[in-house]
């Protein structure tokens, strides 16, 4: 009975102060979206780096004018390099076929002479620590036009991740403080609008915890709504953003999380963060306020 009364009072507070509640939800949602985005970028970059690190396969692109026979001969040269575990031929036809769907009608006309791709080899290495040396050796073989070297990308991504983590941590910290400030001010406003009731509650012997609970509930509900809304926004824009990024850098599409993978954790983390901010923010303002007595409360 008692707890229902307190919960009802909490919701009543939100309704009484609905404009302020709405304003704080909007600010909290914005802060949580930025925070959530920073986290997701960081997680995805870390995931990307680990995927690239795990990838021990390199692609050796051959000169465009090399025919199949010359390409096979070159393959035997590759096999002689010490660190090679296995290698497989990847013909120009296979390369073109990969884009069949994208190309549509033009695909047919690009067969044979129209094929812009050259032959290639997919090579697996035995010892990844020898990655650089092996790549150098392969590059020396005549007829090799290029070797896909992902170690460079991994290095750049590591730097990016470091940057995202550092900047992200600061952003999260500052936004956490902003959200705490916003929510504690909202609660302060509600307490101000109910100062008469609070002074009466104190005079008839309501305990501080009893006075506190509706305000904490109010802040928790605001925090929870904001958390859920922020998670909803993040999840709905995640795939379009990811696809756009994949359009610029192809392998992002295959090496990052899908929305299905991030949805549940995002909702859990965002709503918990909202709740936590609500609890801490409200307790900060209530505790200071509840030290006041009688006339101090009314005259506040």
């Amino acid at each position: 009975m008692k707890i229902f009364y307190l919960i009802k009072e909490g919701f009543k507070n939100i309704w009484t102060n609905r404009m302020m509640s709405l304003a704080s939800v909007i600010v909290l949602v914005s802060c949580l979206i930025i925070t959530g985005a920073a986290f997701l970028i960081s997680f995805n970059v870390t995931h990307l780096i680990s995927k690239i690190g795990d990838d021990d396969q390199i692609t050796v692109y051959l000169d465009y004018d090399l025919n199949d026979l010359q390409s096979i001969k070159l393959g035997s040269q590759i096999s002689k390099i010490k660190n090679i575990e296995s290698y497989s031929f990847y013909s120009k036809e296979d390369a073109l076929k990969q884009y069949e769907q994208v190309l549509g009608n033009i695909y047919e006309s690009m067969q044979d002479d129209g094929n812009p791709f050259g032959n290639a080899y997919k090579v697996k290495l035995q010892d990844l620590s020898q990655y650089k040396n092996t790549v150098e050796e392969i590059k020396k073989i005549e007829g090799v036009s290029a070797v896909s070297d992902r170690s460079d990308i991994a290095g750049k991504l590591t730097k990016l991740n470091y940057f995202v983590t550092i900047v992200g941590s600061w952003v999260v910290l500052i936004l956490a403080l902003v959200t705490l400030f916003i929510i504690s001010n909202t609660i302060k406003m509600t307490m101000y609008s109910r100062r008469y009731e609070i002074s009466i509650m104190k005079s008839v012997g309501a305990t501080n915890s009893f006075i506190r609970v509706p305000f904490v509930i109010e802040a928790m509900v605001i925090g929870l709504i904001s958390g859920l809304a922020a998670a909803g926004v993040i999840c709905s824009v995640y795939m379009p953003v990811r696809n756009a990024a994949a359009g610029i850098i192809g392998f992002i599409g295959e090496s990052t999380f899908t929305v299905e993978q991030i949805m549940i954790p995002t909702f859990i983390v965002m709503s918990s963060a909202g709740l936590l901010i609500g609890i801490i923010g409200s307790i900060i303002s209530i505790t200071r306020y509840l030290k006041k007595e009688g006339g101090e409360i009314i005259g506040w």
Partner: protein, 235 residues
Amino acid sequence: MKMIYLENVSKVYPNGTEALKNISLNIDNGEFVFIVGPSGAGKSTFLKLLIREEKASFGKIKVSGYDLMKIRRGKIPYLRRKMGIVFQDFRLIAKMNVYDNVAFAMRVIGTPERAIRKRVKEVLELVGLDGKENRKPSEISGGEQQRVSLARALVNKPDMIIADEPTGNIDPELSFDIMKLLVEINQTGTTVIIVTHEHDLVKEFGRRIITIEDGEIKSDEKYPTKYHRTEADKK
């Protein structure tokens, strides 16, 4: 038994104002006491000390068995449940009706709703407001508003009623009714302490009158009771 016990109590505010100087007094269970004196004499400070809104700077002070010099912050609400406080400005919640204003005092100490319904009805009858449960404070007179405030102070069955200028904001004829009501409450065994500057009204009712001036007790006298004698007076 002593309801209130003060021994050499002084109160000095942080700005250096000495509001009460070395006050000693006892108020017994069931007594009816007027605290009078000009404004700024220290009456309000005296009340604030009793309800522990302020802590005395020096001396000993006990109320309803609680030592107010040593009481922990968490225990103050329980001390206040032993007293019903009536304010000069009524302090009613405008958006609540009469019933809810009174029931509020029970709800905030966690009383079950069924007990609230029964008790609020009783108290509203006692103060003569039965039938006006659904009115908002703005729809009733000043005297009636003070009755609501009194009902709220009484609803949790306190050991004592502390009224700060209870008739300060109402017409003189209605003031008399409020005082009579307080006397009736006192006759049920509840200690009543009224702070007022209305000397005429005090003289009309008699009983124990403590005069505070410049932070000191100038007089503490018992006057003949002109309106119903209480058990404490008979002693």
